[in-house]
């Protein structure tokens, strides 16, 4: 093996390990943030007993998950019941790998891209992986052999079909302006010509709404709607298997926030940083920090919306998807095309 190949392999391994570590830690602490912010919105204290400010609460939760009994219902289809949490978890983890979190960083004489895979059609890879995640939910619902679970699984597949189309059309605006499906090109274009949010607001709105539906978060958490379906598709799951569904939900939230940041808010771009003429390594680190801050903001929006809006009814969700979001998204595509044709972009 020649040294360059070895080095590339090593870099990729380190980046993947870092991705796992950072993302899973972020997931653990998002659960704490969710509970604390929820408590704050409802004028309560929230979990504040384990460690300072409740900071060790995720650790206690994790230990509890591991030691709970893993129950398999006797009527369940066992193989699929065990496979479902894995099917939902893997795409949720993998989708983040094509998102650039910063400009290339010089490490030991080679510019290392801060992204695991720089794929030519990165945007499509994310859409594809997020569409695979729904099988986990549908299978969990079906294999549990429980009518509430089945209803949850059915709802999630119907929800996916209604929202994926609007999401795809919203993204078309971004890729028309960048002229590429590569997420690096999308970010670079926004560096030169200003963030997409400035002139693609309808697309952003549709994308954000569809992202809420794709991640099954309130106000669109109909697959688990605890007031009607007990806990929906994961009613029968316990212990670590249940926590895999939980982790997948938060991982999807993180990926969706990162995607919104990349597509509409300039990714890792910081306005006015290039004019300061800083040391390139320092500038790169500042940009990574900016990216993380933007993602954190959208994660906060997720929590904020969840504890503010009530859940949609099922027919309202369908109406919103097909009769409101899809027409807005199509009109938005025409609007972006018009702007580009007139040369105003």
């Amino acid at each position: 093996m020649n040294p360059l190949t070895a080095r590339l392999l090593l870099e990729a391994t380190i980046k993947i390990a870092l991705l796992f570590f950072v993302n899973l830690t972020a997931v653990a602490y998002m659960t704490l943030v969710e509970r604390r912010v929820c408590a704050w919105i409802q004028d309560r204290s929230g979990p504040n007993r384990v460690g300072p400010f409740g900071l060790l609460q995720p650790l206690a939760d994790g230990i509890k998950f591991i030691f709970k009994e893993a129950i398999t219902p006797p009527q369940a289809h066992k193989a699929l019941y065990l496979l479902a949490p894995v099917i939902i978890f893997v795409p949720a983890m993998a989708a983040f790998s094509v998102i650039p979190i910063g400009p290339p960083l010089m490490i030991l004489g080679r510019a290392v891209p801060l992204q695991i895979a720089d794929v030519d059609s990165g945007l499509l890879v994310i859409l594809g992986l997020s569409s695979l995640g729904v099988y986990g939910i549908a299978l969990a619902g079906w294999s549990s052999n429980n009518k509430y679970s089945l209803m949850g699984g059915l709802r999630s597949s119907a929800q996916l079909i209604s929202y994926e189309l609007a999401m795809g059309f919203a993204v078309v605006g971004v890729l028309m302006s960048a002229g590429s499906l590569r997420l690096n090109d999308v970010v670079e274009r926004q560096m030169q010509h200003g963030w997409n949010i400035l002139w693609q607001f309808p697309g952003f709105l549709v994308f954000l709404t569809a992202a809420f539906a794709e991640t099954n978060r309130l106000p669109f958490d109909l697959p688990e709607a605890e007031s009607e379906l007990v806990a929906g598709y994961h009613t029968e799951y316990s212990g670590m298997r249940f926590s895999m569904f939980y982790m997948a939900e938060y991982l999807n939230m993180i990926t969706a926030s990162a995607l919104v940041t990349t597509l509409y808010f300039g990714g890792y771009h910081v306005p006015g940083l290039a004019a300061l003429d800083l040391n390139p390594t320092l500038a790169a680190l500042i940009q990574v920090g900016a990216f993380l801050a933007k993602v954190a903001f959208f994660l906060f929006v997720y929590v904020w919306v969840r504890w503010t809006l009530p859940r949609f009814r099922y027919d309202q969700l369908m109406n919103l998807g097909w009769k409101v979001l899809l027409p807005i998204a199509v009109a938005h595509v025409l609007w972006v095309a018009f702007i580009i044709l007139m040369g105003w972009a």
Partner: protein, 216 residues
């Protein structure tokens, strides 16, 4: 390739052992596991070659395609169909058609198969309900079609040329990227593209009319 054929033999031996002695599942693991590890250690260089991976994906593709037809449970069949479609996407990646691979995953493995899963869940199909192999009126036409299709495949494999279609210098530059594919679709193949879209609209209108007629 030696590694691949060895692994195939190991997998088949394990399956045979499990079929012959279903009450002792540990036995097959004890027999198959060490054999696979020894093979991996002996032929580890195979793992770095492209041939091995093409063969491995092909093996999984054929196995999953067989299980789609042979498995009694419709839900499991659908899952194997998804696995098969993902294998096809992997083949596209190996041929440097990245865009096609992404579209394969989104359109087939993602959107269309979700509908399949949805319908099976909605109808609540149980195992073996009218899905047994080789029953019913369509048996003989199905056999005929199967043999005919196998014949065509065999003929194509016999008469293929080793020269790949991507040898044309024009296609090698940026082959398989979204830009290149879009340009081709809207210049050389614009007629086929437009005809396909007309066909799709016709199918959609037909589906709507059929669904409406049943309602009233």
């Amino acid at each position: 390739m030696t590694l691949l054929s060895g692994l195939v033999i190991v997998v088949m031996a394990v399956a045979l052992l499990r079929a012959l002695m279903p009450s002792r599942p540990i036995l097959s693991a004890v027999a198959g596991g060490p054999a696979a590890i020894v093979l991996l250690a002996l032929y580890w260089r195979d793992l770095l070659g492209m041939d091995f991976w093409a063969g491995a994906v092909g093996f999984v593709a054929i196995l999953s395609a067989l299980l789609v037809v042979l498995h009694p449970n419709p839900m499991v069949s659908v899952l194997f169909l998804i696995l098969n479609l993902l294998c096809v996407a992997l083949f596209y990646i190996m041929l440097h058609a990245h865009l096609l691979a992404a579209l394969q995953v989104i359109v087939y493995a993602g959107a269309i198969m979700v509908l399949f899963v949805f319908v099976i869940m909605l109808l609540n199909l149980k195992s073996e309900e009218g899905l047994r192999l080789g029953r019913g009126r369509q048996r003989w036409p199905a056999h005929l079609l199967g043999v005919g299709f196998a014949g065509i495949l065999f003929w194509v494999l016999r008469h293929r040329t080793d020269q790949a279609f991507a040898d044309s210098p024009r296609w090698l530059e940026g082959f398989g990227t979204a830009r290149d594919m879009g340009t081709l679709l809207f210049t050389d193949f614009v007629f086929a593209t437009e005809i396909a879209s007309v066909l799709l609209v016709a199918a959609m209108v037909g589906a709507v009319i059929l669904a409406k007629r049943r309602l009233d």
